[in-house]
């Protein structure tokens, strides 16, 4: 379980997280939804141990994020791979950092995603780069996968490939995936639990299926309703 206990974070004059409280349960695919600037990336980076709370605490299975790096695979929103490397070289480089790297899975996914080890990262398309980032995240057998906007700016066919890969390799019950996105319609049927975040706070959270039972609404509709009050 990942716990946020009254976590606040300020960047200059901007309050990115405002006493944010949340418990992300283990073994679920979790959607972190909200508009741009809501605090999604800041939250994800905090779990990955890339920035620290000014106040409050983030705990991963009871430990601080910097103690948990081996258990977390993180897909950043930015292009973090060296453009002069080939996919194969970048894989070798990534592999050297993580003991949970599964080389069979890497080769299998490389093929499944129509990529090849010889491709140079600086020369492939945006969609192919997105798939490469996904490949490097999923090739690790980490119990926690963090994905920051994995679908943003990607064409529809590549989005489908990315979602297929996630479903295909998901180890239900044991693996926890947190996906941050503002494109909710794409992941409606992928997420178990949803957290709607805005202005550094969780506005609403719960089980996607229970929301549908209780409200008869899609997650997109719920999000529109939840945020209408705030932005009036």
């Amino acid at each position: 379980m990942i716990e946020f206990k009254e976590v606040s974070k300020r960047f200059g004059s901007t309050l990115a997280l405002d006493k944010l409280d949340a418990n992300f349960p283990t073994g679920k695919i979790i959607g972190l939804f909200g508009p741009n600037g809501a605090g999604k990336s800041t939250s994800i980076k905090m779990i990955a141990g890339l920035n620290r709370p000014d106040q409050g605490q983030v705990l991963i299975d009871g430990e601080l994020p910097r103690m948990s790096k081996a258990r977390i695979a993180y897909l950043p929103e930015i292009d973090h791979l060296y453009p002069w490397m080939t996919i194969g070289q970048a894989a070798g480089f990534t592999r050297s950092f993580y003991v949970d790297w599964d080389n069979n899975k890497y080769h299998e996914l490389l093929k499944y995603l129509n990529l090849s080890a010889e491709m140079k990262i600086g020369k492939i398309s945006k969609g192919q780069r997105a798939k490469t980032k996904l490949l490097f995240t999923v090739a690790r057998r980490a119990p926690y996968l963090l994905m920051d906007e994995p679908l943003s700016g990607i064409d529809i066919l590549t989005r489908e490939e990315i979602i297929n890969t996630l479903v295909r390799d998901y180890r239900e019950g044991e693996q926890t995936i947190i996906i941050s996105t503002h494109e909710i319609a794409e992941v409606e049927s992928l997420v178990d639990e949803v957290f709607f975040i805005d202005q550094g706070k969780i506005m609403l959270s719960g089980s996607a299926e229970e929301f549908r039972v209780e409200r008869g609404q899609s997650l997109v509709e719920i999000m529109k309703e939840a945020f209408r009050h705030v932005h009036q």
């Binding site: 679920k28 409606e188 992928l190 178990d192 299926e209």
Partner: protein
Amino acid sequence: MKFDSSRPIYRQIIDSYKKQLIRGELKTGDKILSQREYAEQARINPNTVQRAYREMEALQMVETQRGQGTFIIAAEPMLTEIKLEMARDVLEYFVGEMKSLGYTCAQMISMLEEEEKEQGGGF
């Protein structure tokens, strides 16, 4: 299969199996997709598929045999019951919508009879 995002997906999975049973497309003893195959083909959360399959097992529609797969075990009189239950759901929806448009029960019946005539004596 296309899902309606405003209704629980696990129920839509169960309903689609119920419909296939009623239409005779699936019969007792038939093997259905594994949970993983289903999740992959429909691109939905494997936990959701698991929930649907568990519920179908509890309803004794299907049975999962370790290492063999999941099989249809539903037979009469359960099929009649399922059919009636789904018909009631459709009816409830229809009546609700018609009422909200201001139609009375008698008007609905006469409209249904007219519709039957138009469609050539029996839908």
